[in-house]
């Protein structure tokens, strides 16, 4: 239990919530989102926040960007760079982060 609490602490300090860690593929990729979507994906200027959004919503948006069904400014070019499995891990990490 003590170990579990410390694991949570480490994960919280990493800026992403616990469930993302120890899973594959590595959620380091989720940090890349923060380069435009704000630190911890909390949003920045004209760019929307992703933190805390439902996983399914992020997955659906990425799928629509990937297929071209949703016309993005740059997100289409980005979404096509990640596999579905990677996208799921990223969505899980972002969704779990508050």
């Amino acid at each position: 239990m003590v170990l579990a609490r410390h694991l949570l602490l480490v994960a919280a300090a990493a800026g992403l919530a616990a469930p993302a860690f120890g899973q594959s593929p590595a959620p380091l990729a989720a940090y890349a989102c923060g380069g435009c979507h704000g630190v911890g994906a909390q949003g920045a200027g004209a760019i929307v926040a992703l933190a805390g959004r439902p996983e399914a919503e992020i997955m659906a948006a990425m799928a629509a960007f990937r297929s071209g069904e949703r016309q993005g400014t740059i997100m289409g070019r980005i979404a096509r760079g990640y596999s579905e499995e990677e996208t799921a891990a990223i969505a899980r990490a972002l969704s779990a982060h508050r």
Binding site: L3, A26, G35, H37, T73, R77
Partner: protein, 421 residues
């Protein structure tokens, strides 16, 4: 952190009483407080609270290269693109403002100009670039005081000098640029600079011209830039590729003359010379660089091929097809830190690595363009993920351009918040 094993080690260290932890803390030393180094320090403190992080950076204020071109346009002031290290200090990073003079890869220590020696378990080296003085005949440090490079911002004085020269120039003057061959820091940078100088001239000195002398025949986002120039600054910009005698080989900074390969002497009123580059001096002196002057690294861990224990990120390494960009430095910093700490603890570096880049460029007011790349470690270096990334669409797309300019601003805020907030 990314394997169960290293996570458990981290948790165990956290659980230890403080003095024990302090004594046994893993020592991560980071040299260079720019996009790579500051990002590495932030990430290390966030993700590994039990690791002792020391950042060595000579300057107390970091002036970013990104958005420096907007200072030339008159859209930003230098103080708006300058950042201190208080944020990293508050996060528990020991920030030492000093020069790293020498690295001893065998003893695993860094000697500072001020006399202190820092021992490390792992070193993150993010020293940036050095300008190759003399690579263009007549272009040395003294010449740069007359014909600025404004490519290594330092304390911002080079950018300020170029801005003052543009302000002092008469309407109808010629601004000349010398642009280097690949590889160099920030591939779209010279062309954003041309755009931002043009934005200023169009407003303040509309009869002026820009003469861009290039040592190559093609450049990043070329079609998009040229579309933008034709739309926003018709007739103002002449770009001369290498195949049309664009390569500058000699500079007379006092006379304002840029001389190209076949002996053409271009007299200009303001000269901006962006010289060829190598990895920063500390990387060369430590013997980390290849014959081209750049540091080859392992594509998963960023450990220098020539020195174990030293992970080299940012513009100093060679990682084609990844560009030398701030976003790449930021993105790869996390993989380098996670790998360094895992290896120090005898664990495997995190797998499934991906490195992310978006380079936005401002072409004009409410006019932004971008290039996106997602890269991964491959068997022989770095590989761009197929069928992804690429440049903004061409065509008359005002909404796309307006949004990309806004997103560029959001990127700048996000990434500098991460590094210094």
């Amino acid at each position: 952190m990314l394997t169960r094993r290293s996570l458990a080690v981290g948790a165990a260290a956290l659980a230890a009483p403080w003095p024990l932890r302090a004594q046994g803390a893993l020592r991560l030393v980071i040299v260079g407080g720019g996009f790579g180094g500051a990002s590495a320090a932030r990430f290390a403190r966030d993700a590994y609270p039990d690791v002792a992080v020391t950042l060595v950076e000579p300057l107390t204020r970091f002036v970013t290269c990104p958005y420096g071109n907007l200072v030339l346009a008159g859209w930003r002031r230098l103080d708006q693109i300058s950042f201190g290290y208080e944020g990293l200090r508050a996060r528990g990073v020991r920030v030492v403002h000093d020069w790293a003079r020498a690295i001893d890869p065998l003893a695993r220590s860094v000697r500072l100009a001020g006399g202190e020696t820092l021992a490390y378990d792992r070193l993150i080296l993010s020293p940036g670039i050095a300008l190759r003085w003399g690579a263009i005949e007549g272009y040395d440090e003294a010449a740069a005081a007359l014909a600025p490079h404004a490519w290594v911002p330092g304390d911002g004085s080079q950018t300020a000098l170029l801005r003052r020269q543009l302000e002092a120039m008469e309407d109808g003057g010629v601004v000349g640029l010398a642009i280097p061959a690949n590889p160099f820091r920030c591939p779209p940078g010279p062309y954003e600079r041309i755009s931002m100088i043009a934005a200023y001239l169009k407003r303040a000195k509309p009869r002026s011209k820009i003469l861009a002398l290039d040592a190559k025949d093609a450049f990043s986002k070329q079609a998009l830039f040229q579309d933008g120039w034709n739309a926003l600054y018709p007739g103002m910009i002449e770009w001369v590729p290498a195949s049309r005698d664009g390569r500058v080989v000699r500079v007379d900074a006092r006379a304002g003359v840029l001389e190209t390969e076949f002996g053409t002497k271009h007299r200009v009123d303001v000269a901006n010379v962006i010289p060829p580059q190598t990895a920063a001096t500390i990387a060369l002196e430590t013997g980390l660089a290849n014959a081209g002057g750049w540091v080859e690294v392992d594509p998963l861990t960023f450990e220098a091929k020539r020195a174990p224990g030293i992970h080299v990120i940012g513009d100093a390494n060679t990682a084609p097809p990844m560009p030398k960009s701030g976003y790449v430095a930021n993105s790869t910093a996390r993989q380098a830190v996670a790998s360094a700490i895992a290896l120090a603890r005898g664990a495997a570096p995190p797998g499934n690595a991906s490195y992310f880049n978006t380079c936005y460029s401002h072409v004009g007011e409410e006019y932004g363009i971008s290039i996106v790349g997602i890269f991964r470690p491959g068997p022989q270096g770095f590989v761009e993920t197929p069928d992804s990334g690429g440049v903004s669409p061409r065509g008359d797309l005002p909404d796309q351009r307006r949004l990309e300019a806004l997103y560029a601003d959001a990127w700048y805020k996000s990434i500098t918040d991460y590094m210094f907030g």
